[in-house]
């Protein structure tokens, strides 16, 4: 198997699995119970949360553990008041675009590389806007957004509001599901007030995520009950999941620069191979502003879904556009937003590298993809 779909899912590492196991067996106790073994579980849980938080320059108490990025994104939006408005990027993941429909919202445009159009953001920052949500990196293109710059713009806007005697909040939320392993994240430096973290994309277990919640940020819980997570997310803690998440995040800490270097080299091997195909590939986005492990590519005139099935026969696994939109049978809204034609969208694959890749298998995958592309070209054009 050659797996080129790390933006969809990643394998839980042995280390993570080993760290989690005891909390499902021997140390199964409910961290809210009073007796000592349970208290120890509580301690382990809090330590794990601290560890996750530390990796982005925050404290354990700033985190609300969730069932994943989708829930964290939905929870972040509860910060807006009844009349408040949310601005989101047009290329956001469905978990943002669908949840935001429950509020007043507006869409910020992107340029042809998928980068936020800052002028559009500024023009839409009316006084009723309370939250701006821009993901750290796009899940189809890997485009990295200039969060620090967005944060500066929001700060200016806040100052301007204060000058005019308006005290409505204006906060920045960012979903960092993609890019957590490749970028050094620091809450203060980025200037975000809310940040979604996702365990599943960094070799941690699925079904665990977290929302970083800055001080003075007031959320409304989505579920009520036993008061866990400072009353912001009731329900018995997913101890094993959080331990796994923490172990996974510790494993990537300090390695992002090396990882970037590794994936830049692997992506260029892959690119070289694909360029030899009978149909000229279009590499999407701008590598300068892209996660190093992403290679979105279009073979215009081909049907990417057929390529996925052909590659699957040879045990090479890739995605078309985003897995989510593909399963709904709708063309990707992200690729549409960056101005691709229907033909280009239909021929688009998303290759995303990760822990399961090395020089050898990437080289081999490149050859197999090229062959499959050539076969399809032959089938269609004779």
């Amino acid at each position: 198997m050659i797996y080129l779909d790390h933006a969809s899912a990643t394998p839980v590492s042995d280390k993570v699995l080993r760290a989690m196991t005891p909390f499902m067996t021997d140390d199964f106790f409910n961290p809210s119970s009073a007796y000592l073994p349970a208290v120890r579980v509580r301690d382990a849980y809090e330590n794990a949360k601290n560890s996750i938080a530390n990796s982005i320059g925050a404290k354990g108490n700033d985190l609300v553990i969730t069932s994943g990025a989708t829930e964290a994104n939905a929870l972040a939006m509860t910060v807006v008041s009844k009349n408040g408005k949310i601005l989101v990027l047009e290329t956001e993941h469905a978990s943002i675009l669908e949840n935001v429909k429950k509020y007043k919202f507006d869409i910020i445009k992107v340029d042809k590389n998928g980068l936020i159009n800052l002028d559009d953001l500024k023009s839409k920052l009316s006084d009723e806007v309370e939250l701006v949500s821009v993901s750290l990196a796009n899940n189809e293109l890997g485009t990295i957004q200039p969060l620090a710059e967005i944060s500066r713009i929001l700060k200016e806007s806040r100052l301007d509001r204060l000058k005019r005697g308006i005290t409505t909040q204006l906060l920045l939320h960012s979903d960092s599901s993609q890019g957590l392993a490749l970028l050094e994240l620091n809450i203060a430096r980025l200037g975000v007030d809310l940040m979604t973290l996702n365990s599943a994309k960094i070799c941690g277990p699925k079904g665990v995520g977290a929302l970083y919640v800055g001080h003075d940020v007031r959320l409304t819980p989505l579920t009520s009950g036993g008061g866990q997570e400072r009353g912001l997310r009731a329900g018995t803690e997913n101890v094993a999941g959080v331990i796994g998440f923490a172990t996974a995040i510790e494993a990537i800490r300090g390695h992002s620069s090396a990882a970037r270097k590794k994936y830049t080299a692997l992506v260029s091997i892959l690119k070289k191979e694909l360029e030899k195909a009978k149909i000229a590939p279009i590499f999407l986005g701008n590598a300068k502003h892209q996660l190093a492990n992403f290679l979105p590519v279009s073979f215009p005139g081909l049907d990417a879904e057929r390529l996925v099935f052909k590659l699957e026969e040879q045990e090479v696994y890739v995605s078309t556009g985003a897995a989510c939109s593909a399963s709904k049978g709708e063309p990707s809204h992200v690729l549409r937003a960056i101005g691709l034609t229907d033909t280009e969208i239909a021929g688009s694959l998303r290759l995303s590298l990760g822990v399961l890749n090395d020089e050898e298998n990437v080289q081999q995958a490149g050859k197999i993809i090229r062959k499959v592309v050539d076969d399809e070209v032959r089938r269609i054009y004779g």
Partner: protein, 363 residues
């Protein structure tokens, strides 16, 4: 037809393949149509796979699995190096099949949407569209046989699906290939396995696609105003309980009555006007049995195939055994009493292995 990314490949079909007859095969993603594709390819046809996108309602908790079925169909077509298209019949399916079904239920009858789907969609719209795009034949994975323009029983009597096909047009039958006509289901499964088709072990689809997993009752509730009413015992008029909508009950039905204890009750009669469902413990209740059924909307495939004496065999539901009967005007007469079938259901006629047509039970 809306042009989506999925349909992009549709534009490129039939290039340099003129030597072989072209067959458009309806593919559902299931094992039967997948194996049909293999067989047609082996027989040397230029096979184009087509997924028919029919109407589906997409509500939370109520999802027709069409996207997965489409992916399954496309995967098989791709593996077999076939061209593949999507025909979007959502609008027509809603009008011709779903609306018909809802109207029938509202009128207190029990329609068979699969029969309507074959008549109006698969062997009409699909046939027409395929022909327009250059098909010499169409094909489906039904267990049935097309021979000399006649619709005939499949070899696998247990799987034979002519009950659902009796109303399809004669023109379509002439141009239809049923690759599974001479195969038994286990052989089909074996072939699928041999060719490494991922869906060889997939559960067979049951019931109407667009209703998905939720079942007909939940589906109908979305569209039809339901008034609760009494359940009475036929013989005594005693109120035994209450129902949540008379349309949900079918004559002869035994399950789903909210009356417990003792022998099971059977639905024997519905009074839609008074909104009363009548039940009986008596399996011999006269409303449950009959020697004659009156039909509506009779469709005769070819009158010359009819035995002069009117003696035919009939099938009263899919996979039910054939029973002897006499067809006279719009009545089907039986020697012995048979269990009644609900109004709206179909009675299908046969002579030997030829399907003669059929009709819909009046009521």
């Amino acid at each position: 037809m809306a042009k989506t990314g999925v349909e992009q490949s549709a534009a490129r079909v039939n290039n340099n393949k003129g030597k072989h007859p072209t067959v458009f095969l309806g593919m559902s993603g299931g094992v039967d149509s997948s194996v049909s594709a293999i067989l047609l390819k082996e027989q040397g046809y230029n096979v184009v796979g087509v997924y028919m996108k029919n109407w589906s309602k997409d509500l939370p908790g109520m999802k027709c699995p069409w996207a997965e079925d489409l992916a399954d169909a496309k995967r098989v077509a791709t593996k077999l190096d076939m061209d593949f298209m999507v025909f979007d019949f959502e609008k027509e399916y809603k009008q011709k099949v779903v609306d018909y079904m809802l109207a029938e239920f509202k009128a207190g009858r029990t329609p068979n949407p699969d029969i309507m789907c074959n008549e109006e969609i698969k062997f009409k719209l699909f046939f027409e569209e395929a022909t327009k795009r250059g098909a010499d034949y169409i094909a489906t994975g039904h267990y049935a046989k097309s021979e000399d323009g006649k619709l005939k029983l499949a070899l696998d009597q247990n799987k034979d699906q002519t009950y659902f096909l009796y109303r399809i047009s004669k023109d379509a039958v002439k141009k239809t290939l049923f690759p599974l006509a001479e195969l038994k289901k286990p052989e089909v499964k074996e072939l699928a396995k041999k060719h490494g088709l991922a869906n060889a072990y997939k559960k067979e689809s049951m019931g109407v696609c667009f209703v998905g997993d939720v079942g007909m009752k939940d589906f109908l509730r979305e569209y039809i105003d339901i008034t609760p009413g009494e359940i009475r015992e036929l013989e005594t008029e005693a109120v035994l309980g209450y129902h949540d909508g008379a349309i949900f009950y079918t004559i002869g039905q035994r399950h789903g009555l909210y009356v417990g204890g003792g022998l099971p009750y059977y639905v024997v009669k519905k009074d839609l006007e008074k909104n009363i469902v009548y039940v009986s413990k008596n399996l011999n209740a006269k409303d449950l049995w009959t020697k004659a059924i009156t039909l509506d909307n009779i469709f005769i495939r070819d009158g010359s195939d009819f035995p002069k004496d009117g003696k035919i065999m009939v099938r009263l539901r899919h996979r039910a055994p054939l029973v002897p009967a006499i067809f006279e005007k719009n009545h089907v007469l039986f020697d012995e009493e048979i269990k009644t079938i609900a109004a709206g259901q179909s009675v299908v006629f046969y002579s030997g292995d030829t399907c003669l047509g059929g009709g819909i039970v009046k009521g």
